[in-house]
């Protein structure tokens, strides 16, 4: 059992689990948190994506997203109804606890992060293709560590970071990790896994434009007739914002 600890970021208090580094209680004005309890996805907040044979299910306090080996376009995951309530200029922080159950094969990929674009079914890839205009995300795809090494990519429609190896190493199947993206400074967006900063030598810039509004997106996806696989477990999604 982790002990409660407190941290300050930009003068704001947050309580976190000293073992897992989960941000348990951010004292921010804007806080969104879904632990996916219950037997149905809250569609007031979320769109559950299950294109073609893909499935998305809720149970056991998690979302399971599954894409099949069928040679077709598939998306499995959740996004926030294209409502985009979080403002990059207001210091949002995104956090998601996720496990990979089946590593992405072939041209399947996994995205964990935020985007300004409305979600594009069969056109929302950031690793095998760059189909989203403004985003910041962790990702997994077969090219990097057989789909088990987290990658990072950002694009503010001015500077595209390209695909950056997080340096975290390969995750173990079914092992949960906490992925956090900190936009407190949009000129230096920070990425963390289990509380430790990753890709620290790369400066990720998301400062193009003003009041860019984003939504969380966590999805496994592939396009056209690809036969790739990928399964994810999403335990929770939290987003908090330092100012309104």
């Amino acid at each position: 059992m982790g002990k409660t600890r407190a941290k300050w970021r930009g003068g704001q208090l947050a309580f976190y689990d000293g073992t897992t580094h989960e941000t348990v209680l951010p004292m921010a004005p804007v806080v969104f948190y879904d632990d996916f309890l219950g037997s149905a996805l809250n569609t007031d907040y979320w769109t559950g994506i299950n294109t073609n044979d893909a499935t998305v299910a809720i149970g056991g306090s998690k979302i399971t997203g599954h894409i099949h080996g069928t040679g077709e376009s598939e998306d499995a995951g959740v996004y926030m109804n294209d409502d985009k309530p979080f403002n990059l200029d207001k210091g949002p922080i995104f956090e998601c606890r996720l496990a990979i159950h089946v590593a992405p094969t072939s041209l399947a990929e996994i995205m964990i992060g935020v985007q300004d674009d409305s979600y594009g079914t069969a056109s929302n890839r950031i690793l095998n293709a760059d189909e989203v205009t403004r985003y910041a995300a962790f990702g997994f795809y077969n090219t990097l560590g057989a789909g088990l090494v987290p990658a990072i990519r950002t694009d503010d429609n001015n500077a595209n970071s390209g695909i950056i190896n997080s340096g975290f190493g390969a995750v173990v199947l079914d092992a949960y990790h906490i992925y956090r993206i900190d936009f407190t400074d949009v000129d230096n967006v920070l990425f963390y896994i289990d509380g430790a900063q990753v890709a620290a030598t790369t400066t990720f810039v998301m400062s193009a434009g003003s009041n860019v509004m984003v939504q969380p997106v966590v999805v496994a996806q592939k396009k056209t007739a690809d036969t790739g696989l990928a399964d994810i477990y999403i335990d929770y999604v939290k987003v908090w914002q330092a100012t309104r």
Partner: protein, 348 residues
């Protein structure tokens, strides 16, 4: 970026934003907080009004209510849902009779206060002589009250007194119809019960609101707490339609005033020095001391020279957060955006 600060009120801690004064995290037993994320309002919790040409919308973590200039009654706003009417709460259907009815409860759903309803139905083709249902109980101050309700065949009739507890309901003056010789039936229940938050348990209301188009003409914008069941076209400035209320009111103008009424003392149009300016402000009402209810805008006390004694709502009186633009007709418009609503209560 505001820095986290903490404050104490009646011995309870709350964290707040040191710049905007928003109460970020009240550490209280009862806390309602809705930031209106998503693409739909939680219908289990909230009722919304958009009477006639008025509109409501949710997007980007905010609610927008619009009252148009059209000459008609319009209500545009939101309040928490009261407990629904339950017309058989006290007694399911049975024959009418002389004497006391056996009741299944002595309190109202949720432990709040409410009005008694009597529903009767004819049996046998001929109406009985209805007589009265004599209701005895207590009011919110635990004082004894009683009233007689005259049943109306085929209808539900509501009493006029607000009861906290029911001691007895007794049939008087009733007589079975001589022709068919069968008793008509009766069901005893309650009308809508307002039971979300208890006013005398250290209640604090806070909402962040942007009045983007100032109320004009006959439009009134009400922000705060109300104790009556919602009814369309309930005004507090042009008319005193709400018996129990603690409200910031913009009455046909940008100027913000305070109206407070505990059905004992009615204080109207108290100046705050605050005016809407098409930007967000944090409106807070603090009923920690019901004999000195305090109003704040952006963390600063307003109308501080006036003592707002609302202790007439002590006892088990319940209120709801209430944000409504309303007009009875004629010209008048108003547009306002609700960013969040928080209500917390120091005790259960």
């Amino acid at each position: 970026m505001g820095q986290t600060r903490e404050k104490w009120r009646a011995g309870q801690v709350a964290f707040y934003d040191g710049t905007t004064q928003e109460t970020v995290k009240p550490v209280s037993p009862v806390v309602l907080f809705d930031d209106f994320f998503g693409t739909a309002v939680n219908g289990d919790l909230w009722s919304q009004e958009d009477t006639n040409n008025a509109t409501k919308a949710i997007a980007a973590s905010a609610l927008t209510f619009t009252m148009t200039n059209t000459d008609q009654i319009q209500d545009a706003g939101i309040y928490t849902k009261p407990t629904a009417a339950n017309t058989s709460w006290f007694k399911t259907s049975g024959n009418m009779k002389l004497g006391a009815y056996t009741l299944t409860s002595s309190i109202f759903p949720g432990g709040g206060v409410g009005y008694v309803t009597v529903t009767s139905a004819q049996v046998g083709g001929v109406n009985d002589t209805m007589g009265t249902i004599d209701v005895v109980g207590t009011d919110i101050d635990d004082g004894a009250i009683s009233e007689s309700i005259i049943p109306l065949n085929g209808s539900t009739v509501s009493g006029l007194l607000l009861f906290k507890t029911i001691t007895s309901m007794t049939g008087a003056g009733w007589a079975r119809d001589a022709g068919a010789g069968t008793e008509d039936t009766i069901v005893l229940g309650c009308s809508t019960v307002v039971n979300s938050f208890r006013f005398d348990k250290g209640l604090i209301f806070e909402a962040r609101v942007n009045v983007t188009t100032n109320p004009g003409g006959l439009a009134e914008l009400l922000i705060g707490l109300a104790g009556d069941a919602y009814a369309s076209n309930n005004q507090v400035a042009a008319a005193d339609d709400i018996n129990y209320h603690a409200l910031f009111v913009f009455d046909g103008a940008a100027t913000c005033t305070i109206y407070a009424d505990d059905n004992v003392t009615d204080k109207n149009a108290i100046a705050t020095g605050h005016s809407a300016d098409a930007s967000y402000h944090v409106y807070r009402i603090d009923a920690t001391e019901t004999d000195d209810v305090k109003f704040y805008v952006d963390g600063a006390g307003v109308a501080t020279t006036t003592t707002l004694d609302m202790s007439g709502m002590d006892g088990d009186f319940r209120v709801v957060p209430y944000l409504i633009a309303v007009k009875s007709g004629g010209a008048g418009q108003c547009v306002y955006v609700v960013d969040y609503i928080k209500v917390w209560q120091a005790e259960r």
